[in-house]
């Protein structure tokens, strides 16, 4: 094995969190920073080439923009009694690859996590008593509060130029914004994005029912903006090619347009593409510290890259898998509840509460992934669960994401039973631009039985075991989804729908439809090493020179998509490293 010259800081993974940490450390310290990214470099100036639904959203340009699952995938089973099978095609998850990672094709929703999610266990007990908690739950407090996070949310929003309307600035409620949100220190950097036809219908219907609709906050600029780093981006043109595409004009915040221009100004940061990191190296003799990583380079050679500080930023499944493969920390055992690596695997609960068939055409092709109207009245911590058969809540949403035909063709009224032939085709053509969803996005608890470990059967291209997910929905989600469906149908009715197709109910966790790339858990954060892998500064409890960034640190799945929060947490960790750790290397908490 070849040993390379050591670096001060080694970052594994070049997506949102890894590149953000590289930018922060590169610009605020003289340290040598090396980012290892196994995928290629993308050229955002040529993203217009990606406006091709077949190649980017359907075939997904494997190996170029998203992880090539022929080389590495994950396995899934719904319970410990089932045999896990590999996800042979990307569908359920769409992990990114290359510089920018999934941050190049993300949907750019930038909604903050509701305040009491950070103290989920104590707040739930305080409000409803310990008896209301599901027997199998594994929820906890995160070790950081919303109030502590607020300044970092503000910095994150300024970095990406988030567009939105504040509903609560320092306790002052503002009509038109989300009056149920956590207290904000100030307004969004850019005004809310447009409200196209379908979203406007939803907004007016929601208002008529007494709800408080607000424009969904997002990272696709409503107007031109220059961030504190001097990076300028233009306003969105609503071409509709966001989810699964790089933004052709850079209106959507992406690591390549927000972070790379700054990184390039700092000679102490290097991005090395191609390395496939297989192990984090830790020696017992080194007091628990890690020494670097080993990787396979693009020519197939094994390489040892030493470093003083190692930061894992390789997304939920890979962060967890790397710790398990490297035997750092104790693997979680659901039978005994011992061990923490792999625990608290969660996914988003999101579905079309009501498919709405409207009389008039909707011009669905216009929009941007996160453009839409939200209703926060039923959110976690807002809705009163006392007399409801479930805990927590969620958002009702209508989006004008900009839709393409392959992915959304074929939906027909319930009276049409055929799935091919003339009757089906006529209906599908007629309703193509008249049918849209009222959605429910709900909070999901962590459970003892949902976790990750190494698969005993299936291996990656280098012979290392794949990560195995054991994951299923539980009764709390099933009951919440019935509630969300009923509420969505109510709004759809008020929209004047000609027909409404309600959600058919939550079955088992299903690998076929795209659910979310933002799985959470596996290396969760918390105040205690007894039930967490990293401390609230995302520093490993046993190895103080190892930090872990990304969704793997999130202990359960709040309604909010994690990316904005991960950007905020990464900034917080970078402060802790620069202001405290580098002065006195050692545990920060």
């Amino acid at each position: 094995m070849k040993t390379l010259p050591p670096v001060d800081v080694l970052i594994v993974g070049g997506g949102w969190t890894g590149l953000l940490m590289a930018k922060e450390l590169g610009s605020r310290t003289p340290l040598s920073v090396l980012v290892l990214e196994r995928g290629p470099i993308h050229n955002p100036d040529e993203y217009i080439k990606e406006m091709d639904e077949l190649d980017y959203a359907i075939r997904k340009r494997s190996g170029v923009k998203v992880q090539d699952c022929s080389k590495e995938t994950a396995t899934l089973r719904r319970s410990g009694n089932e045999r896990a099978l590999p996800l042979r095609e990307l569908g359920l998850l769409i992990p990114g690859t290359g510089v920018g990672g999934a941050g190049e094709h993300w949907g750019a929703t930038a909604y903050r996590i509701m305040p009491d999610c950070f103290q989920l266990l104590s707040k739930t007990i305080e409000k409803y008593g310990v008896k209301r908690l599901p027997a199998d739950h594994s929820i906890k407090d995160w070790g950081v509060t919303y109030e502590e996070m607020e300044p970092y949310y503000t910095r994150a929003e300024n970095l990406i130029g988030a567009s939105g309307k504040a509903g609560n600035i320092q306790g002052r409620l503002i009509e038109g914004g989300n009056i149920f949100e956590g207290v904000r220190s100030g307004e969004y950097p850019t005004p809310p994005t447009a409200t196209p036809y379908f979203s406007a219908l939803f907004r007016d219907a929601a208002k008529s029912l007494g709800y408080h609709p607000f424009p969904g906050p997002n990272a696709t600029l409503s107007e031109a903006h220059t961030n504190p780093d001097g990076v300028s981006r233009p306003g969105c043109v609503f071409c509709g090619f966001c989810n699964m595409y790089g933004c052709m004009i850079g209106a959507k915040a992406q690591p390549t347009n927000v972070l790379l221009p700054v990184i390039k100004r700092h000679k102490n940061v290097t991005i090395r593409t191609g390395p496939w990191v297989r192990r984090v190296v830790r020696e017992k003799s080194s007091n628990g510290r890690v020494r670097g990583v080993t990787y396979k380079d693009s020519s197939g050679d094994e390489v040892f890259q030493p470093a003083d500080l190692v930061i894992l930023a390789t997304w939920t499944l890979n962060n967890t898998r790397l710790l398990l493969l490297s035997e750092i920390g104790e693997p979680y055992d659901p039978a005994t509840g011992k061990g923490n690596v792999g625990r608290n695997l969660t996914a988003d609960l999101k579905f079309a509460a009501a498919k709405v068939l409207m009389e008039k055409p909707l011009n669905r092709f216009m929009g941007s992934a996160p453009t839409g109207i939200y209703v926060g009245d039923l959110e976690s911590g807002v809705v009163d669960n006392t007399n409801l058969p479930f805990l927590r809540g969620g958002l009702l949403r209508a989006l004008n994401s900009g839709y393409q035909p392959i992915g959304t063709f074929g939906r027909v009224p319930q009276s049409v039973k055929s799935t091919w032939g003339s009757e089906w085709k006529k209906a599908a053509v007629y309703w193509y631009d008249r049918m849209e969803d009222v959605r429910w996005d709900g909070e999901v608890f962590a459970y003892k039985s949902n976790y990750m470990d190494l698969d005993p059967t299936y291996k990656d291209v280098h012979g290392d075991p794949l990560i195995r997910m054991t994951m299923d929905w539980q009764d709390n989600e099933r009951r919440m989804s019935e509630f969300g469906t009923a509420k969505g149908v109510e709004v759809a009715r008020a929209m004047g729908a000609k027909e409404i197709i309600p959600f058919g109910g939550l079955g088992h966790f299903d690998a076929n439809p795209y659910v979310v790339t933002q799985l959470r858990g596996g290396t969760i954060m918390g105040a205690s090493r007894d039930d967490s892998v990293v401390n609230p500064f995302l520093q490993h409890f046993q190895a103080s020179n190892l930090f872990i960034l990304g969704s793997s640190v999130i202990p359960h799945a709040p309604t909010a998509r994690p990316t904005l929060s991960l950007i905020a947490m990464t900034i917080r960790t970078s402060d802790a490293i620069v202001d405290r750790y580098l002065k006195h290397p050692g545990p920060l908490a």
Partner: protein, 219 residues
Amino acid sequence: MKRRHFLTVSASSVGGLLVYSLDGKAFRLATDDKAVLIPLRFFSEDEALIVSTAVARIFPSDESGPGAQEAGVVIYIDRQLAGPYGEDRYRYTQAPFESGSPDLGYQGKESPREVYREGLKPLKGLDRLEPAEQDARLKLMEKTYFFALLRRHTIEGMFCDPVHGGNVDMVGWQMLGFPGPQMSYREAVNTHFGEAYRPRPASLLQISRFKIRPSEDEK
């Protein structure tokens, strides 16, 4: 060397036929051409005729608009199967192959090419039957994975960018009012509430100044 197969189609059946050659350049065949020979990359001519017939029953031409025949769906599928997708280059194909709950996705060993090759065998002669008989034959197999794939590929071929060989002359997009990739709807997005806004469609090759290399042409 394998005999080169061609699909013979009537140019008038595909409107002003726009065909993309191997190097991605578009060429238009005069509409008065009586018969057009399109080189096949994967199917034999017999197979292509069956596929062409089947996809036209799945997505027929009728008063609601053109169908799979006019959109060139068979050409689209032929190119997909000939390319990396057809040979499963990006699917996880490590053994063991176990059958599991359909919720866990397709677990079969067979690549799309193999699924088609096998799936087409029982449809031999389909193109020589009456439409009602064709539907009856297809009905018998509508629960198979092959049929699911054929149906999915038909929708792809109807509505993909024309660079992939389907959606010829953007006939699929025009039928739905989908304008393809466009540079901006900045003004339009706030207007046209409740009325159909139908800008003239554009394809990727028309809007991009960069060379487009579709995934099916990857070596």
